[in-house]
Symmetry: C2
Subunit: 154 residues, 2 copies
């Protein structure tokens, strides 16, 4: 690979920042080919699209399948700033993605351990602090908005 995991995770973090700017839970994802080519990038748009389906991982998978004109993403790696949920783990398995690299764990909704472990390669902790800080700042700011009675999108 031309680029290492940190390079792609930095791109995923840039996507997560775009989500934060749009007042969405800041999660970003990148799909790279086995040769280190960027296939797709995406961020969470659950609020904008009004659907819980529109997680960064699902959007990155949809975009990659469209770009490659192939729903089989064998050999590809998915970089995502937050540990994938059950839905996204299921989509990852269906899409035949070979490797998942995530930033910070999701103690509430994360499911990569129970669903992906032993089935595909998983790496975690890449750019963990940055991924985590982005999420914590977002939710802290949401709580402060509630405290001061500001408008909330959710």
């Amino acid at each position: 690979m031309q680029y290492g995991d940190n390079y792609f995770m930095n791109l995923a973090l840039e996507e997560a920042e775009k989500a934060a700017e749009a007042d969405e839970v800041p999660v970003g994802a990148v799909i790279a080919s086995g040769e280190g080519e960027i296939i797709s990038t995406a961020f969470n748009t659950v609020e904008k699209d009004g659907s819980c389906i529109m997680h960064a991982e699902i959007k990155a998978i949809l975009a990659a399948q469209k770009k490659l004109e192939n729903w089989r993403l064998d050999g590809c790696a998915l970089y995502v700033t937050l540990e994938p949920c059950i839905m996204c783990c299921g989509a990852i398995l269906l899409s035949r993605i070979s490797k998942v690299i995530y930033g910070t764990i999701d103690p509430k909704g994360g499911s990569s351990g129970s669903i992906l472990e032993g089935k595909i390669e998983i790496v975690h902790g890449i750019m963990e602090e940055k991924s985590s800080i982005l999420l914590k700042s977002f939710f802290k700011s949401k709580r402060e908005n509630i405290r001061y009675g500001k408008n909330m999108t959710d």
Copy 2:
């Protein structure tokens, strides 16, 4: 409820038949409100859309969220002819659907037992035979096409 489970499952079966006609794995889904109103209907279009995300359940959830302009489907029931896979079970939980009713079990890809059990109400075996026959006929015809060297979409 004005209509019973068989009524909605029959509609889901009609969706599955549309999938079969389009040479897609025949799975159909219907989302009904707690008051028995049909919110959305959908069938599997994985081949047409070139994406493993486009399962009948995901499409029905996306359509219901768009129609209701709300991603929370509390109180709604999802009728689907085949036991949902991991991805769809995850999407069902995220969408807050209250009840899942499915036709036939999926011994290979089904995950409702391990993922949904104890979290939301699950009913299975409604119109089981019809749901199963539709799938079996589809795959039997696919195998025969292979045997006789006909063109396959997959």
